[in-house]
Symmetry: D2
Subunit: 305 residues, 4 copies
């Protein structure tokens, strides 16, 4: 059975993402993101499921930095997980018995409307994770009456769901990716995404514009860009790029080779099916057969044909 | 006396930044970044000093989002603060008496080398902030023997500096900005930076390239770009830009107007002297007198002169 | 009565163009293009009508160079004239009596199909101009039996039109422009064209790309580009640009000012109604009200509003 | 012996260019440029030498159009020929005996200063070519006293050089190219030029900018651009490009393939040593070894290495 590490404890959104990506896998909860990824690198796990970005909070810096600096890994899949918070309590607890709520600060922030409306007098306490909060609340004698966490956490820890979908926004999503040890990317599906890390060779004005031009001239559309500090002082950054297409696509290959030539270092993080199933609009002259035909033509021209 | 809010408690790096920016100001410690900014918005403070980015950790998302979504504020100054960690203990404590170290997780991470070398057997415990750790250590009967915090925290809480500059990297910096309620930016100094938030009108392929071209065609060099989620789902972002020059500069004004025309919303966050004092290289044809001369020329041409 | 110089003698396509542009004007035939333009410069004529380009032959280099180097003139109108050749002979001549055909080489080339089909045994002789050929054929005792020229030449010189529209292509066009001494361009009509001459400041790689970017970033579409030698050696060129819009348009004014700033010299040749009446597609953010609103916005931002 | 056609008669600048390019070749004078090129196409000549552009007059449209529309040919060499005009007369003629000067109008124009200074009363008469003028003057009983032509024409027709270098500008140059039937281009020399003809697929705004970006993104510098009408009406053009580098260069091959993909038709006209011997500045990341390394890298990445 495939073993996949994830950000534990049991009951996290990461576990829920893992269940969607690989329903039959064995989940290995890890203490934090680096630990989950190291389990893959070290061979204790076959893969890992980690969050990459959240539609409210933004990029998960730890994940980005692990992908950039740590021993290389390959992204093999992605999933967009709706972030649905539930109010979880020990069985028989009723709403008006809840005096102390325990959860991760991000969850408390995102459920502020519900809390002030339904539990205006409750005390809220910060927990290290939403699943950890549920775990704590489940303990007999816990000082907390309820946790705010993913529904899956309630199932894991035997808590009752007093209210569901209590976030202020119901459309919040987290994008999780599944990673494996480096290897051949799976075949293109026609709806793929590719992720890169790019370090500049020298940080000159216009360097970012040059990078984007390498993409645009081959008709490759970016879907995400993140800058991260290199650690060498304010003003020095490297970049994460997500874009449409697969490394096996000719237009992607040429664009990525172009970045490799003009940049200091390009780290390929993977090509994998898009969770949203969207197929890219391919600009005239940038489809694979057009690249193949142009290569043939160039060969003939060079040979004097 | 000018009153400036900052991320408290007393003894934080933010307070140190404030002292550098405004040695004579009265500091008002705030519980968190939004609280510091709200003190300005509400008039309890004349300004605030908040971190914007760190050379190891990256952007401070809370600050970016507050600047983008909160009631408008104006950045009036910046400072680059070296992040120098000290090992602080109650007077008379010696290095080999330290069994339990208390600090913010980021500080503990950044001092990992020192701890494993000098205090390999010490237990490290996570604190909500470095200054809070120092405050706690200073209490008689504290369960912690030492804090890792800014030197200023030692002074504030009467702790002895057992070791200084104990970070693994000695070049880590945090960039703090001083903000005020909206008003006229101070006059250009010749070495200025401008900060913007830009929301797209519609998220089409090439939108980022178009934005960067608005800058480059007027010879305005970007110094930082950050993407942040709009909250409307994965794949929807807005942007923070830092760039060389002052909003009063002709080339900056035209570039920013160009963004305003083609984007959904542009929020001006301020033009202020650069902390590094670097003067920009001004590309041929983009200096103020060249813009003025071109405007005169155009007027004549339009009038048939 | 307005007096307009044109490339004579009477009966040229230039005269036909003049009649379309200014039916009531008095035409002053000139010996060549520079002479026609000098008549305007010197005040003997109020304007001139000269060819700028032909859809088969390309740009009229003399016109381009006169506009670039000569004393400045202003283009005030354009017309697209179909080039229709007629076979013209003295009255009573029949097709099978035609043994010697006289015309300008370009006309002979463009009527090659007709000649080889209908007059395969005729001798063709090169004339200095089509109208001159008609003039010559009209003389009693002329050694030539027929001229190929514009229909108007037949009317002028009392010749019979034996065949009309005898060109191999029936869609050949010449674009003529009307010029005047410098003055205020006429008001925008919503379907205008603007013409510029641009000399580079220094001929560096990418200079042309930079110029085109000045246009594209303001959404100004080029309709023609010509390079011409500066005279200073092979590899040194200046440029003629035609593009959509009027110098009074904000987007055109900003683009043209941008060129003025980054180039060595920009000579404005005029904004005038397009002969084809096509209205430009105006890119989002580049219409006049959007420029005006952005200028207001910038003013407020600079003032701290 | 290699036989090269050229624009005759003997004594033209074209013959002089031919002598420089191929001193030992047999020259075959042709009546005009198409005839010279057709001699190559039909096999009567091994190659031809034709003018491409002149530093005063600009492009030679006939040559450009022959290269674009005629049966394909390959440019194999270029030469920059100084245009030096001599005043040539029958032996024993003295300057003050010259009453009638015969030459091509372009030559008469370019020697206007000399004529008005030294022969203010002479009548000037237009000839079909400078060499033809010399040939005519050499005939006993010619109505002309002197020709203005290339020095080589004097040698050919036994004329005396009364004055040399009489052009108003002494730096006028004509660029001639040598062409052959299609075949493999000669090997790169490190200082090469490549010439292309490009037809657009559809004439949309920004098409030219896109073409230039294909070059610039691979660091290929243009040295000449010419637009020519397609014949399908005013506003429809195709383009001639000269640029640094050889079709065998990786950066050139990729740029040209890119044009081939996005344009309607690209016709390769040849890669050949530059007459000026200038070596291009190769932009970081665009040298052949960098392309080769990037291709290897991409292969590994795709294979999961």
């Amino acid at each position: 059975m495939v073993r996949l590490a994830y950000l534990g404890p049991e009951g996290t959104f990461a576990e829920e993402a893992l269940r969607r990506l690989a329903p039959d896998a064995e989940g290995l909860p890890a203490a934090n993101i680096p630990a989950a990824l190291n389990a893959v690198r070290g061979g204790e796990a076959d893969g890992a499921v980690v969050p990459l970005e959240n539609s409210l909070e933004g990029a998960i810096a730890t994940t980005l930095d692990e992908f950039a600096w740590g021993e290389p890994l390959l992204i093999t899949a992605e999933v967009l997980l709706p972030v649905r918070f539930s109010l979880l309590a020990r069985p028989d607890t009723t709403l008006n018995q809840i005096k102390r709520i325990y959860s991760h600060p991000a969850a408390l922030t995102q459920c502020r409307g519900y809390i002030s409306r339904e539990l205006p007098d409750a005390v809220v306490v910060a927990a290290p994770s939403t699943a950890g909060a549920a775990q704590e609340v489940a303990l007999p004698g816990s000082p907390y009456d309820a946790a705010i966490a993913a529904p899956i956490a309630g199932q894991h820890y035997g808590l009752t769901e007093i209210a569901s979908d209590i976030g202020d926004r119901t459309d919040t999503m987290t994008r999780f990716v599944q990673v494996a040890r480096p290897g051949t990317p799976s075949a293109p599906t026609g709806s793929d995404r590719t992720t890169l890390v790019v370090f500049l060779a020298d940080d000159h004005p216009g360097a970012l514009l040059e990078m984007l031009t390498e993409f645009s001239v081959r008709g490759v559309n970016l879907t995400r860009i993140e800058s991260r500090p290199t650690g060498d002082g304010i003003g020095r950054y490297f970049f994460h790029f997500d874009f449409e297409g697969h490394i096996a696509d000719a237009r992607v290959g040429e664009a990525v080779s172009g970045l490799h030539r003009i940049c200091g270092e390009v780290r390929f993080l993977g090509s994998y099916p898009r969770a949203d199933g969207v197929s890219p609009q391919i600009k005239r002259g940038t489809a694979d057969p057009e690249f193949a035909e142009a290569a043939e033509w160039l060969k003939r021209v060079r040979a004097g044909g």
